[in-house]
Each structure stands twice: as structure tokens, then as C-alpha cells.
Amino acid sequence: MASVSMTVNGTAVTASIDPRTLLVQYLRETLRLTGTHVGCDTSQCGACVVHVDGKAVKSCTVLAVSCDGAAVTTIEGLAHGTELHPMQAAFREHHGLQCGFCTPGMIMTAVDLVNRKGGALDEHTVREELEGNICRCTGYHNIVKAVQAGAAAMAGSGQQIAAE
């Protein structure tokens, strides 16, 4: 077993885990933060995207022990209580989700995208940047609209990712 300590959604956590535990398993099974999903096991689908030290990573491909000392933000850490993050609000407003399974990863990727590229995003950029996130329900049409609207709202409010 290995000891690992990190900050998750602003709370310090420490646990003794099997060294082969993936970050996503640690979040889901140990911390019971089940908003982060596993869709493919091969780093293709992006349902597992969280932020580690402010950058989007696929948590199915990161060992939890390698995140020792890191600050992790998951979908559960994005809203302030019932006040949604602008990107979450945009997904609801623009019907950017159907079954909801890919949605946490999509939103975390989108927030990271805005943090990197700013709030004025054209459709082509959004589509290229979402290449690592697969959605089977929406055909991406409304996800693209939601990301563009969420990006503009984030820029307008001067908001970077909430919990960091």
C-alpha cells in the first residue's frame, strides 16, 4: 500500500491505497466522487477529465500516487453550491447534454480550453479542441454552441475555474 495526499475540490485528503490505483478509481471508489466517469479505459473518450494543478487530464490514465501533493478539481468542485459555473449553465441552456455521461468530462475540458485560449472561440477551434472527448448522444452540435456560450460568459465574468 502507498500513502497519497492531495487536495480535491479544496479539501485536503490522505489515503493509503494500492499503488496501481488510478486517479479516477481513487476519486470514484475511495472519495465517492462519482461525477467523474470511465467510458473507455484507453484515454480516448474523455469522460474522466479532471483538472490537476489547473490542467485538464484524463484521470483514467494517471496513477493516483503520481498526484501526491497536487490540487485536483472534479466536476463536483465547479459550482458554488447551487450557483452554477458559467460553463455548466451554458450546457443546460444550450441542451449540450442528453444522457449526461460524457458531460462532466466535456465541461472540464471546455473550462480548460477557455483557460488556455480565452473566451472568443470560433466553431472550428472548439471542434478541434474537443477531439479528445467523445459524445454519442448529441452529435456535438449543441455542445459546440454551449462551449462557445460558456466561454463568452466566463470571459465576461472574468471567471477562471472556480475552485483554483
Binding site: 494500492d18 496501481r20 470514484r28 465517492r32 466522487l33 462519482t34 461525477g35 467523474t36 466517469h37 470511465v38 467510458g39 473507455c40 479505459d41 484507453t42 480516448q44 473518450c45 469522460a47 472534479t74 466536476i75 463536483e76 465547479l78 459550482a79 452554477l84 455548466q88 450546457f91 443546460r92 441552456e93 441542451h95 447534454l97 442528453q98 444522457c99 449526461g100 455521461f101 460524457c102 458531460t103 462532466p104 465541461i107 466553431e123 472548439v126 471542434r127 478541434e128 474537443l130 477531439e131 472527448n133 467523445i134 459524445c135 454519442r136 448522444c137 448529441t138 452529435g139 456535438y140 452540435h141 449543441n142 455542445i143 459546440v144
Partner: protein, 788 residues
């Protein structure tokens, strides 16, 4: 229309939990004392099992049990079933082999279930599964469905020595042949409808639980139809009687058909929970999903269209071979037969149709319904034939279609279906306008100047949804009735719970269904809760597939709401001291006609429960009504999709430049949700046409078993879509709804391939039209040009 009523683009009530990470999918649920199951799967496509040695696995840390097909047999657990009987041309029944949840003596595809290891942790179960030693005698794989029925092929199931499950037909052969004999022109096509893997983003999962005190089982599962799962597990597989088996399908992350079926893993989890005396959880990984979720499509078809000298269609003749895989999945037999051939008339007035279908066993994963289920395959046949016929006759493909459209309704086709209503020309005209068809030639010339090949493709589809009148499907071989149930429970404070047998796994029922209730009862939408997915809450239901939840599920709710209003009127009459006939209900208020005396809906609900104003002998207290709605007909959504694309001849890559969809779904409850369904369907249809294909090698190994090998459509592969509607209300249900869930997936593949072949100038392209395939197709054109 109110802000939350019928026709309003209400934002979804269910979204808050999903966008904040509070959805509750099966894998998010954990039970105290839970154990973990990992399946030992066949590495061979076809093999006899000589022995299974689980000694080392059982001694592995944390292992509680290793169970095999022998244990299932010892407990008299029945096999998985196929619930739709198909008869051969000679009237004899189809030949269905046994389908044990864990293999008994033989494995028939890679991934087939050999044993299950149950351990304290997932990692321990996985480690131990590696230690189960299975001694196989490898048998020849049967991969190619043509070779499967030829002499010398190995037999997959003894009951079908030649691997033919059924040899079925529909239509009138004699009149069809006669029409072909007098035809001035015959268009012929050989068509491959590629094999697909449904790939909902949430992999399947199950938790089986057993309460020794009450002798009752609970199964949490990723199901589109939990009541059907309970029925099958109870009545056929024999796990437990229905009143001792609760099936819960919580939030489900997409289905697309693949979560209709009752699979081995769910069966084993619920059975094993009693064996080990602890809850048993299994979660599929993505490769298991590729190997074992039922696949879709996989047809080989030869099709012919007979035409007169003016281009009027006289007849259609179709011969299809359908790969059903290694076992008959739950509804597999119906998909290439009754969900396929009855759609071959498309939107066209075709006097004679004859279709023959041979269903074939191979040593590949079972094939069953995938979004559209038979209807995309039929539409691909019809729309490719029609397109090629128009080209061969030198006629504009839009004008050719229009000339052959059905114009009078109701219309009886020669293949069972009686279309109730539609206006096919209206959809086509609107689509042509939205797509700016008249300037296509100009755009094609501009593309040519840039060295690109531009093409345009049409697809005028029809589907049969709202499945279906129970007597009708029963006469065709279905093992179940296909009505839907609803119960409307009005609480004393006027809030409402609606229990529905439909199941939402992305379709937004919690919003759409609540809109109907809000509209009819005149109460705010946030006072309405939709309850589904739990057999202990909802009495019975047939679930969600085949675009049936609006047309059938909501019709049941509508019927129950009628009863609620009728009962509430009686309560209001007592409370307002008037006669029943004088009570009017409008905008959420019951009033006495011609007076200013009225009560709000919530006040009447309270009166119903306190029962102070009427005698319980005259009127039962309470306000709760249920309904079972059995449809009077299928519904027939239709529409026209137009795909315009550019091919780069140097690389074979395709860019879809514009996509126009004009659909007639009848009345629409929530246009935002309906548009979303169209978008998603188109993406899956484009996926079939351009990217997706399940491939087995000659040994029966699935070589496309991950997202690194099976190409799912990504955001940068697709355009934004221009979506419009026309409306002819459906006369066959009280809400006028036709259904929208599968339209895009049905319409899109022929639109794409018609556009590619238009750009190329020849028909020799099969799906998926990958850049490599398209590049080769371009070379063929250039070789022809060079030779000229």
C-alpha cells in the same frame, strides 16, 4: 402555448444533476458488503471446452467463488431467450440454438462467457480470472456470413447444421416478378450494410443483491426496459418469481438499443448474489462492450427496382442475408425481418414488393437492434436504389422522388404497413429550399476550381415507430404486447407524480412528460415529478426503444390524465355544490359554467383526499388514476435529409459542407429536445457512412475492439446541422406524435453515400467510406478518365 407547456423549448429538469456530477448511474451505486465479478471470456471464436480448472483462481487472495456453466445447470437456471418467433417460408419455426449465460460445453465467439470470478475487490477478481485454466479444443471459426451457409462450414449450433436460422419472406413474389417482366428499366444494386457497435458512452453494469430474510432479489442494471428484464429473468431464465425480483435501472448513459437486451452478465450477477450471499457488482470495460454488447446492422443485400418508361416505380425485389452472430439476442430475429422488410416501400407508391431474408449464425457477437433497427437498413436499400435509378434514367433525383411519392393517405403498402398520414413533397420542398439546391451547380464548379469534388445526396426516409398494436405484433411473432402504462398520482397539495413504463436514458422524459402534465393540469412544471426505471415503483411497462416513448408512453399518460380530470370534476362538483355536467376545467381551475365560482387544481386535490364534501359511498376518496395504452397503429415519421460534401481527391478525406434535415414528427412537445435527437441520430448515421465498422479477422478475432481501432465520430468530423420540420399530426394517437429518436440514424447513411457517389460519378463505394476507401474510389474514376 405556455412557457412550460406543449410546444415550448423547456430547459431540461434533469440537467442539474448531470452537469454537477450528481447523476446516479449503476456504477455510481455501491451496496454494503459488495463483491466484484470479473468474467473469464473465450479467447477463441469457436471451441469446445474440455475442462475448466479453477483451483488456482479459487486459492487466489480475496476470491469467494468461481462459477461456471455447470453451476448454472445445477441450479436449473434457464438460458437467455429470443422473444420473437420467425417462421420460415415453409411455415416451420426458426432454428434457435441454446444460449446459456455461462458456456456449457462450447464457446461460440470471442468474449463468450466461460466463468465468473467473484472476489472482495475488483483487482483481486481480475487477478484471479487470469488464473482460471480453460482447456479448449479449437474449432473452425465461421466469420463470413456467405461462407457460413456453404458446404464445409463448421456448424455453430447443432439445431441449424447449415447455420441458417431462418429463411423468411414477405410480399407477393408472383406480382413482383410479373412487374419486373414488363419493366422498361431495371436498376440493380449490391449493398453492404456495415456491422456497427452501438457504443453508448456508459458501459453496461449490474449489481445483483439477495435478501435472505425476504428471499427477494434486487438487480441494478443499465437497462432501457427494466420490466422486460424482470419478466425475462423471472419467467424464462427462472431466477425468481416477479414479486421476488426488483429491477432498477437508474440513470442510464445512453442505450441506442444495446441496453434493451437481457445479457449474460446481469443474469449471472443476480444469480451469483444468492450463491455468495453478498451483493455482486460487475462493470463492463470498453473492450468487453465491443466484444459482447449486441452489435447492429450487418446485411448483405441484392436489390432491384423495376421502372416504366417514364421512371415510375413498378416493383422492388430484395434479397438479404443477415448476420445474427453466435446466439439469438433478445429481439435479434425481428430486426432483419418485421422491422426491415415492411419499410421497403419508403415514401414511394410501389405496387409490388417481394423480400427474402436469410438469417445466419456466425461465430461473432450477437447482432440485434441498434438505433433504427432494420429501418436504417431498409432505408439504405430504398434510397440507394431510387438515387441510382434516377441517375441511370438521367432524371433529377429530387424530381424523380417527387414523381414517385405517395400522395394519398391512408396508404396501404404491399408490405403490411398502412401509412396514416404525411406530406412528403412538403418536406422535400422545404429541404431543397433550406439546402439552396438551385445553386448547387455553382458551388460544385467552385469546388472543382479548387481541385475538390463536390457532391449532393438525398435521403427521403420513412420509419415505423411507436411500436406497436399488441395484437398486430403478436400476429407477427412477438412474445410480448407493446402497449405502455402510466399512473398519475395527485398528492393532496396538488403536486403530481407520474409513474411511467417508459425509460429515459438521455431522451429527456423528465422534462417532456412533465410538460404534458403541466399543460393539461395547468400546474407549474416544477410541481410534476416523473418516476421511471424501478419495477417496485412502476407496476409494469415495456420500456424505451423504437421511438415509442412519445407516441405510446405519453399517450398512456394522456389517457391517465383524462381519468384524473374526470374524477377531479366530480370532486369539484361536490365541493362547488354543482352538478358534474356544469363543471369546466381550464387553465388549472375547475369552475361552474356561467358563474364566478371556481377552485384551483390543488384545492380540488385536497378536497379529494379530505373527502369532507362527499360521501365515500358515492365517490371514492383520493386522486390517482392509471392507464394502459395500446396503440392503434404504428406511427410513420418521415422526412428528407440532404448532405452536401467535398472530397479531396488527393487524400480521400471528406468534409461535410452542409447538412439539411426536414422531418415530420407530427406534433412536437419540446422542439429543443427533438432537435437534439435529430442531431445525435445524424451523427450516428454519418458515423456508419464514413467511420464505423466492426471487423473480425478470419479467425474471428474482433480487431476493432477499442476506441483506438473503432472510429467514433468526433466533434471535428461533423458540421453543424440545419434542422427544420413540417407537421402532419399523427391521427393514430391522442397527442398527434410520431416519434423522433431514430430519424437521423435512418436518414443519414444513404444521404452521405448518395453525395459521395454523386461527387465521384460512380456507385462503387461501400460503408464506411473511409479516406482510404474514398481515395481508391477516386483512383478508379481517374483510371477511367485516363483510359478515355
Amino acid at each position: 402555448m405556455t412557457a412550460t407547456g406543449i410546444g415550448a423549448p423547456v430547459r431540461r429538469k434533469e440537467d442539474f444533476r448531470f452537469i454537477t456530477g450528481q447523476g446516479r448511474y449503476t456504477d455510481d451505486i455501491n451496496q454494503p458488503g459488495q463483491t466484484y465479478a470479473v468474467f473469464v471470456r473465450s479467447p477463441h471464436a469457436h471451441a469446445a471446452i474440455k475442462s475448466i480448472d479453477a483451483t488456482a483462481a479459487k486459492a487466489s487472495p480475496g476470491v469467494l467463488a468461481v462459477l461456471t456453466g455447470d453451476d448454472l445447470a445445477a441450479d436449473k437456471v434457464g438460458g437467455l431467450i429470443c422473444g420473437w418467433m420467425i417462421h420460415n417460408k415453409d411455415g416451420s419455426p426458426m432454428r434457435a440454438g441454446g444460449h446459456p449465460a455461462l458456456a456449457q460445453g462450447k464457446v461460440r465467439y470471442v468474449g463468450d462467457h466461460v466463468a465468473v470470478v467473484i472476489a472482495e475487490t475488483y483487482a483481486q477478481a481480475r487477478d484471479a480470472a487470469e488464473k482460471v485454466a480453460v482447456d479448449y479444443t479449437v474449432l473452425p471459426a465461421v466469420v463470413d456470413m456467405v461462407a457460413a451457409t456453404q458446404k464445409g462450414a463448421a456448424t455453430v449450433h447443432d439445431v441449424a447444421p447449415d447455420n441458417v436460422v431462418y429463411d423468411w419472406h414477405l410480399g407477393d413474389k408472383a406480382s413482383t416478378d410479373a412487374a419486373f417482366a414488363r419493366a422498361k428499366h431495371v436498376t440493380k444494386l449490391d449493398i453492404v450494410n456495415n456491422r456497427l457497435v452501438p457504443n453508448p458512452m456508459e458501459p453496461r453494469a449490474a449489481i445483483g443483491d439477495y435478501d435472505g430474510g425476504t428471499e427477494a432479489f434486487t438487480l441494478y442494471t443499465t437497462s432501457q426496459n427494466p420490466h422486460v428484464a424482470r419478466l425475462v429473468l423471472s419467467a424464462f431464465i427462472g431466477i425468481a418469481p416477479e414479486h421476488k425480483l426488483r429491477v432498477i435501472a437508474p440513470d442510464v448513459g445512453g442505450g441506442f438499443g444495446s441496453k434493451i437486451f437481457i445479457y449474460a452478465e446481469e443474469t449471472v450477477c443476480v444469480w451469483a448474489a444468492k450463491k455468495v450471499g453478498r451483493p455482486v457488482k460487475w462493470v463492463s470495460d470498453r473492450t468487453e462492450a465491443f466484444l459482447c454488447d449486441a452489435h447492429g446492422r450487418d446485411h448483405l443485400t441484392h436489390a432491384e427496382l423495376a421502372l416504366d418508361d417514364k421512371g415510375k416505380i413498378l416493383a422492388m425485389r430484395v434479397k438479404t442475408k443477415a448476420n445474427l452472430g453466435a446466439y439469438l439476442s433478445t429481439f435479434a430475429s425481428s430486426v432483419p425481418t418485421y422491422l426491415y422488410a415492411p419499410l421497403l416501400s419508403g415514401q414511394y407508391d410501389i405496387p409490388a414488393i417481394y423480400c427474402e431474408v436469410e438469417g445466419v449464425y456466425t461465430t461473432t457477437a450477437p447482432v440485434d437492434a441498434y438505433r433504427g433497427a432494420g429501418r436504417p437498413e431498409a432505408t439504405f436499400v430504398v434510397e440507394r436504389l431510387v438515387e441510382v435509378a434516377a441517375r441511370q434514367l438521367g432524371q433529377d433525383p429530387a424530381a424523380f422522388r417527387k414523381k414517385n411519392f405517395i400522395r394519398k393517405f391512408p396508404h396501404q403498402t404491399p408490405v403490411i404497413m398502412a401509412y396514416d398520414t404525411g406530406d412528403y413533397s412538403a418536406s422535400l420542398d422545404k429541404a431543397l429550399d433550406m439546402a439552396d439546391y438551385k445553386n448547387f451547380g455553382k458551388r460544385k464548379r467552385e469546388s472543382a476550381r479548387a481541385g475538390k469534388l463536390r457532391g449532393i445526396g438525398f435521403s427521403a426516409y420513412i420509419e415505423a415507430c411507436g411500436i406497436a398494436p399488441s395484437q398486430a405484433v403478436g400476429s407477427l411473432g412477438a412474445g410480448v404486447g407493446l402497449w405502455e402504462s402510466a399512473e398519475v398520482r395527485v398528492n393532496p397539495v396538488g403536486t403530481v407524480e407520474v409513474l411511467t413504463g417508459s425509460h429515459s436514458h438521455g431522451q429527456g422524459h423528465e422534462t417532456t412528460f412533465a410538460q404534458l402534465v403541466s399543460d393539461r393540469l395547468g400546474i407549474p412544471i416544477d410541481q410534476v415529478a416523473i418516476v421511471h426505471g424501478d419495477t417496485d415503483k412502476v407496476q409494469f411497462g415495456m420500456g424505451t426503444y423504437g421511438s415509442r416513448s412519445g407516441a405510446v408512453g405519453m399517450s398512456a399518460i394522456s389517457k391517465a390524465l383524462d381519468k384524473v380530470v374526470a374524477k377531479a370534476k366530480k370532486v369539484a362538483a361536490y365541493a362547488l355544490e354543482a352538478s358534474d355536467g356544469d363543471i369546466e376545467f381550464k387553465d388549472g381551475r375547475f369552475s361552474v359554467a356561467g358563474t364566478d365560482r371556481s377552485l384551483a387544481f390543488g384545492e380540488v386535490a385536497l378536497q379529494a383526499y379530505i373527502a369532507h364534501k362527499f360521501s365515500g359511498q358515492d365517490l371514492e376518496p383520493g386522486l390517482k388514476e392509471g392507464a394502459f395504452y395500446d396503440p392503434t397503429n404504428f406511427t410513420f415519421p418521415s422526412g428528407v435529409h440532404i448532405c452536401e460534401l467535398e472530397i479531396d481527391p488527393e487524400t480521400g478525406t471528406i468534409k461535410i459542407d452542409r447538412w439539411t434535415a426536414v422531418d415530420d414528427f407530427g406534433n412536437v412537445i419540446n422542439p429543443m429536445i427533438v432537435e437534439g435527437q435529430v442531431h445525435g441520430g445524424i451523427a450516428q448515421g454519418v458515423g456508419q457512412a464514413l467511420f464505423e465498422g466492426a471487423h473480425y479477422d478470419k479467425d474471428g478475432q474482433l480487431v476493432t475492439a477499442s476506441y483506438m481501432d473503432y472510429c467514433m465520430p468526433r466533434a471535428d468530423d461533423l458540421p453543424s446541422f440545419a434542422v427544420g420540420t413540417t407537421v402532419t399530426p399523427c391521427p393514430s394517437n391522442p397527442l398527434g406524435i410520431k416519434g423522433c429518436g431514430e430519424a437521423g440514424a435512418i436518414a443519414a447513411p444513404p444521404a452521405v453515400i448518395n453525395a459521395i457517389t454523386d461527387a465521384l460519378g460512380h456507385e462503387d463505394v461501400t460503408m464506411p467510406a473511409t479516406p482510404q476507401a474514398v481515395w481508391h474510389a477516386v483512383q478508379k474514376v481517374q483510371r477511367v478518365l485516363a483510359a478515355e
